[in-house]
């Protein structure tokens, strides 16, 4: 290995960190989420509500979502465009991990010989979850959309029956960072796209007569997904699909 000169450590770190966008430390609070139903797409989320309504009515009329509520949940007011604000209700996102396991393989009574390492299974999509925390509002995104969506999905199942009849959605997470001084666009450092998403779980919710919390209340929702892609520095359209 080559010798490292006396002054190179700190100075080189500083030169990289401050000298080039690619090595700049990003901001962690600048991101946006968009949820786009497969049925009807971004412009026509009513189609998803029709499917949810059809299936939840099997269960009980009490899960009926009024039209005026439907029109306020996933429309242009709450996610004006895919490059912009993102979904108004989203407050936090946990992006699912990626992993595979390894096994030690050897023979019995091998004494001091170490076992070899071989690759085992990659973590299955069913074992990882995307989770999103939603801001609780008077309209209530979770009880107005997610809860009946979970019930409808449990009746309908996950078999693909065509896009127009799909209970699934695509969730995009854009991570923004400091300006690149190239375009007027808000600078993205990464774009995650999760496809075939269905909400699976809404966490328990507790109401108490304590004092009001100092942070606005949120509810965490776990989502399954069929596959995901991400793009590092999306301006270069460097996409990787899994």
């Amino acid at each position: 290995m080559a010798q490292i000169t006396k002054n190179s450590l700190v100075k080189n770190f500083l030169d990289l960190m401050g000298g080039e966008w690619a090595y700049n430390v990003p901001l962690t609070t600048q991101w946006a989420v968009a949820i786009v139903p497969d049925a009807g797409g971004y412009g026509n989320p009513d189609q998803l509500f029709r499917i949810i309504k059809d299936y939840t009515q099997i269960d009980a009329h009490s899960f009926y979502i009024p039209i005026r509520v439907q029109q306020k949940l996933l429309n242009e007011n709450t996610q004006p465009n895919l490059d912009g604000l993102g979904l108004y209700f989203a407050q936090g996102v946990t992006i699912a991990r990626e992993s595979f396991s390894v096994n030690g393989i050897g023979i019995e009574n091998s004494g001091g010989y170490l076992k070899g390492i071989v690759a085992s299974d990659r973590l299955g999509m069913s074992d990882r979850k995307l989770s999103i925390e939603f801001l609780e509002t008077n309209l209530d995104f979770v009880d107005g959309l997610i809860r009946p969506w979970i019930i409808a999905a449990s009746y309908k199942g996950l078999i693909n029956t065509g896009e127009e009849n799909s209970i699934k959605c695509t969730i995009s997470i854009q991570e923004f960072t400091r300006e690149k001084n190239v375009y007027d666009m808000k600078p993205q450092k990464r774009l995650h796209v999760f496809k075939g998403c269905v909400p699976l779980d809404v966490e328990d919710r507790v109401l108490r007569y304590d004092s009001e919390p100092t942070e606005a209340p949120t509810s965490r929702v776990s989502w399954m997904f069929e596959n995901y892609t991400y793009e590092v520095d999306p301006e270069n359209y460097f996409g990787v699909k899994f």
Binding site: L9, F13, V25, L27, Q30
Partner: protein, 196 residues
């Protein structure tokens, strides 16, 4: 090292030309709670003290080889959860009553009702604004600061001294939360405000 621009003489020359900002060259011009209390300049002559708010960039630290590298993060508005204004208390106490009514509108404990803005949305909406002015000695406005999304937090107590009072004028403090502020430059030859 010779620093010819920073001598006593150059300090004096600058002091004559640019003068100094004085502690009284500041006004709370208006307080407007959307659909609620409104305090106009004539009411706010009783505002005694107030602060020009600050703006902090959060520091992020990256460590390398035992050394901290301080990197700028996102923004915080220190004190935005309780911006304090101290008022003279008029004899009819109307200023405090206006603010007390705003507090009751924000949350009324008797019926457990919370108020709303003009649109039926949050009281702390973009139409609820405190306007502050920085002045020069001609009382011309230099910069206007607008604290956006204000809503009442505290209406302070007034302590009276019934037995030993000397007739001292009473004050009270009100605190108001806001989301952020923007700036408008009003005087000529000033540094333009950059809002982005």
């Amino acid at each position: 090292m010779d620093v010819p621009q920073q001598t006593i003489n150059s300090f004096f020359n600058n002091a004559v030309v640019r003068d100094f900002s004085r502690d009284y060259l500041f006004r709370v011009e208006s307080i407007n709670f959307d659909n609620g209390a409104v305090l106009r300049p004539t009411d706010l002559v009783y505002a005694r003290t107030a602060r020009l708010p600050g703006r902090n960039i959060v520091n992020q630290t990256a460590k390398y080889a035992g050394q901290n590298f301080n990197i700028p993060g996102s923004v915080e508005f220190p004190g935005s959860e309780a911006y304090e204004i101290e008022f003279y208390c008029p004899e009819d106490v109307y200023l405090r009553e206006i603010l007390m009514n705003e507090s009751t509108r924000t949350f009324g404990n008797i019926f457990g009702l919370a108020g709303s803005g003009q649109s039926g949305g949050s009281i702390a909406n973009a139409n609820s604004i405190i306007t502050l002015l920085q002045l020069d000695k001609n009382l011309d406005a230099l910069y206007q600061y607008r604290l956006v999304g204000c809503s009442i937090r505290g209406v302070g107590e007034i302590s009276y001294d019934i037995a030993d009072g000397t007739g001292a004028v009473k004050y009270f403090t009100a605190s108001v939360a806001y989301h952020f502020f923007d700036r408008v430059v009003l005087g000529s030859n000033l540094v333009p405000a950059l809002n982005r």
